[in-house]
């Protein structure tokens, strides 16, 4: 066998091996940040993100944080977000509410609710939805510890998400952390809201403290104090400014139609 021929064959074999080995590895080595405009590095699609919060009564905050991220993933090719919940959790956790999504800034038409009877069906639906080309994100609201949701299950989900390009968010509650193949793991805590203009006693735009427990988005920064308006995320450096200072800032940065009293737009 001549030497160049042999080298060619060896190179081809190496490529094959690299192909076999690289696929899952590549999925994890991908760029996670999409854009940095708002000060918060928006994660790209195709990731498995776990959003933990300490208590179940923070359910509204985690859903808000997730829908805010999911909204940025929506595109004309991927117009849908699938929300999964177990039937028995509806009364405990509440259901996503259409008019509420409108006032939050999320189009309720884009959200499809799936109410699964048990965890097996929920995971099946999550995989099925991730594989669909038209789904931007899957939001799985899982209250309580689920034995079936182990490392293998989350690995499956993360590979499926990486290959399909749609993100999956697992909303989890409690302080326990299990082994998982999530690309990013957040710990989210609600904080005092921004000041509402003309009404110092009323809650304003929401603020959350998001701590990144796993994965890297920006070098060395693992904590953000995130605000949300209908225009998108806003950030404050929570370490330097106390909550009172934040409240002094106006919540909107962009052009906002003037409001008469509390809710009647002058321009309408």
């Amino acid at each position: 066998m001549s030497s160049p021929d042999r080298q060619q064959r060896l190179a081809a074999l190496r490529d094959t091996i690299a192909d076999i080995e690289r696929k899952p590895a590549l999925a994890e080595a991908r760029v996670m940040v999409r854009d940095l405009d708002a000060g918060f590095p928006l994660p790209a699609g195709g990731l498995l993100q776990e959003v933990f919060t300490d208590e179940r009564r923070h359910a509204g905050a985690v859903l808000g944080f997730t829908l805010a991220q999911a909204r940025s993933l929506l595109s004309p090719q991927r117009p849908a977000v699938i929300y999964l919940q177990l039937v028995k959790d509806s009364q405990e956790m509440g259901l996503p509410y259409g008019p509420g999504m409108l006032s939050f800034g999320f189009d309720p038409n884009a959200l499809v609710l799936v109410r699964a009877a048990n965890m097996v069906e929920l995971l099946w639906a999550a995989e099925e939805a991730l594989a669909c080309k038209a789904v931007a994100a899957v939001v799985a609201d899982i209250a309580g510890h689920q034995k079936i949701l182990d490392f293998t299950a989350s690995r499956r989900l993360s590979l499926r998400a990486a290959s399909a390009g749609s993100s999956i968010f697992l909303l989890r509650y409690g302080t326990g952390r299990e082994a998982s193949a999530a690309h990013l793991r957040w710990r989210l805590t609600p904080t005092l809201s921004a000041r509402k203009r003309f009404d110092p006693f009323a809650p304003g735009a929401p603020y959350w403290r998001a701590q990144l427990e796993k994965g890297v988005l920006l070098k060395q920064q693992t904590e953000w104090l995130l605000g949300w308006t209908q225009d998108g995320f806003t950030t404050r450096d929570g370490a330097r400014r106390p909550a009172t200072r934040i409240a002094a800032e106006p919540p909107f940065s962009g052009a906002v139609p003037a409001h008469l009293a509390d809710r009647f737009p002058q321009t309408a």
Partner: protein, 532 residues
């Protein structure tokens, strides 16, 4: 027409082979035990239906008896009837005289598949006889004639030309008449249909009512009689019969895939697509299992259809029971509409609508139709009525959802508001603390109240188009009248509906939506939702 005079006892004997030969089923009628069904041996021993059970036992000492279970037998007979749809798509159970025993099959355009009407009748009868059923069958031009001949003459195929001569010779009982009518005709000396037919019709109608003439005309084909088929007719279907019965679900699904391809080819040539697909599994032991799946949009994609059936079969779990095997599978399509061929490729719009619709179909087929939902906004300011969850495969998304008044609403709503204990520092002021699910919260910020009243345009009175109903006093021996139907719509209640909503935030930044039910002074507070 198939007539199975002793079907209940035959069925029970087949189900429980231990039952001894003279078998009778009894029923409690007005405090007495009377025979309701007999098998052939009991019948030949001189017993008859309606006889007292004690008398029957005295006449036939070795009689084995059971209480009749009519709902079970009716359901079993319905299954039995469905199974016959492998002979003809139109099968009905005739309940004129008895609840079970009479099967009507419309064999128009079917008989040639079995080599003609005679061989078809022989095949059906032999098949049932081999299973131990006593059966007689007749193919005739009208339902009435078939009933008459099958009950009172030998098995045969009645041609249209022979109809009159054969019917004329039969007794008047063959016309499916009531006992009173039969007694009256016997009194007049009219024993056979042939004697009855030339009589003047007016006096007959005056004495016996219109039903007698109707039955007569139906039997001779002068008046059309309709049957109500048990399984709705599907015009387009594909089916496969098996030499050896199959049992495994995987085999069934593979067959469903093949049938879906066949059906898709047929639909494609016609330029059609379907929204509902039904898989009928015919078991060798006279049962039909049905699996139905629905699709949000018209489709004829065999991969999609077979995937829906695969998902649907996952939901069956323990229900699937192939029994002794399945010997025929039929895939039928309904809700058919025009579906033109679409050019794929360069000019297709990539909006993902089709992918999404298929995803909804797949999830619905496995999780059930009420598990995959979409929000529909309703023009109502009552929060729980402002959004409605509808199955995603039924509802098209609204053109553009809008929040006209820019109301602040919570991101999550509890399906049922939960009672909370609220303290307000000043009467009629903002809430200051709250206890919810046994945990206390100090509320430091609040906005409100937003008062939502009841919808006054829903009238407190019902619309009265007719004078109100006054129940009459029932005459002795007469049943009391039924009250008229009044729809149960929610009526306007001026006081109950008023709610004062507050958006409250506690010291740690949790934001709740709470409301006071009723006006100030009634301290019934509820938590209704969570803000982001």
């Amino acid at each position: 027409m198939l007539y199975l005079p002793t079907w209940p006892t035959d069925f029970l004997k087949r189900r429980e082979p231990g039952l001894k030969a003279p078998l009778a089923l009894y029923e409690r009628i007005k405090g007495g035990l009377r025979l309701a069904a007999l098998d052939a041996e009991a019948g030949s021993a001189g017993l008859r239906v309606g006889q007292n059970l004690a008398d029957a036992r005295a006449m036939v000492s070795e009689l084995s008896v059971q209480e009749i279970n009519r709902p079970m037998l009716e359901a079993a007979f319905a299954d039995f009837a469905d199974w016959h749809s492998n002979a003809s798509p139109l099968v009905a159970v005739m309940r004129d005289i008895t609840q079970f025993g009479d099967l009507v099959l419309d064999v128009t355009g079917v008989a040639h598949l079995f080599g003609g009407e005679g061989p078809m009748l022989r095949l059906l009868l032999n098949r049932l006889r081999a299973l131990g059923y006593t059966v007689s069958g007749v193919i005739a031009p009208t339902i009435g004639a078939a009933w008459a001949v099958s009950h009172f003459a030998r098995n045969q195929v009645v041609e249209t030309g022979d109809l009159d001569t054969i019917l004329d010779g039969l007794p008047v009982q063959a016309l499916r008449l009531s006992p009173a009518q039969i007694a009256g005709l016997t009194q007049m000396g009219l024993k056979s249909i042939g004697q009855l037919r030339p009589r003047d019709r007016k006096p007959l109608q005056a004495r016996f009512g219109i039903s007698l003439l109707e039955r007569l005309d139906q039997a001779y084909g002068l008046l059309e009689e309709r049957m109500v088929p048990r399984i709705p007719v599907a015009e387009r279907y594909a089916e496969r019969r098996f030499v050896d019965p199959i049992g495994l679900m995987d085999d069934v699904l593979l067959t469903a895939h093949d049938l879906a391809i066949q059906l898709a080819l047929r639909l494609e040539t016609e330029g059609l697509g379907g929204q509902a697909f039904h898989l009928f599994l015919y078991r060798v032991d006279h049962k039909v299992m049905t699996l139905s799946v629905n699709s949000a949009r018209l489709t004829r994609d065999p991969e999609h259809i077979s995937k829906l059936f695969a998902n649907r079969s996952e939901r069956l779990e323990g229900e699937y029971d192939a029994g002794f095997g399945i010997d025929m599978i039929r895939l039928a399509v309904s809700s058919v509409g025009a579906l033109d061929a679409v050019q794929m490729g360069a000019f297709a719009t990539q909006d993902g609508a089709e992918d999404l619709a298929q995803l909804h179909d797949r999830m619905t087929s496995r999780l059930g139709p009420l598990a995959v939902l979409r929000t529909q906004l309703v023009a109502s300011h009552i929060p729980e009525q402002a959004a409605r969850l509808v199955p995603a495969i039924v509802a098209e998304p609204d053109a553009k959802a809008q929040n006209p008044a820019e109301l602040v609403r919570p991101l999550r709503l509890l399906p049922v508001p939960e009672l909370v204990a609220i303290n307000a520092e000043v009467p009629d002021g903002l809430p200051a603390s709250m206890i919810w699910r046994r945990v206390g919260y100090r509320l430091i910020k609040a906005a409100g109240p937003e008062r939502l009243g009841a919808e006054w345009w829903r009238s407190g009175q019902r619309l009265q188009l007719v004078p109100p109903h006054v129940p009459k006093k029932p005459e002795p021996g007469e049943k009391p009248e039924k009250p008229p139907y009044i729809p149960q719509l929610v009526k306007f209640d001026a006081d109950a509906g008023t709610r004062d909503y507050y958006m409250a935030e506690d010291a740690e930044g949790r934001r709740f939506w709470i409301y006071r039910q009723g006006l100030y002074g009634e301290n019934h507070w509820y938590l209704h939702g969570f803000f982001a």
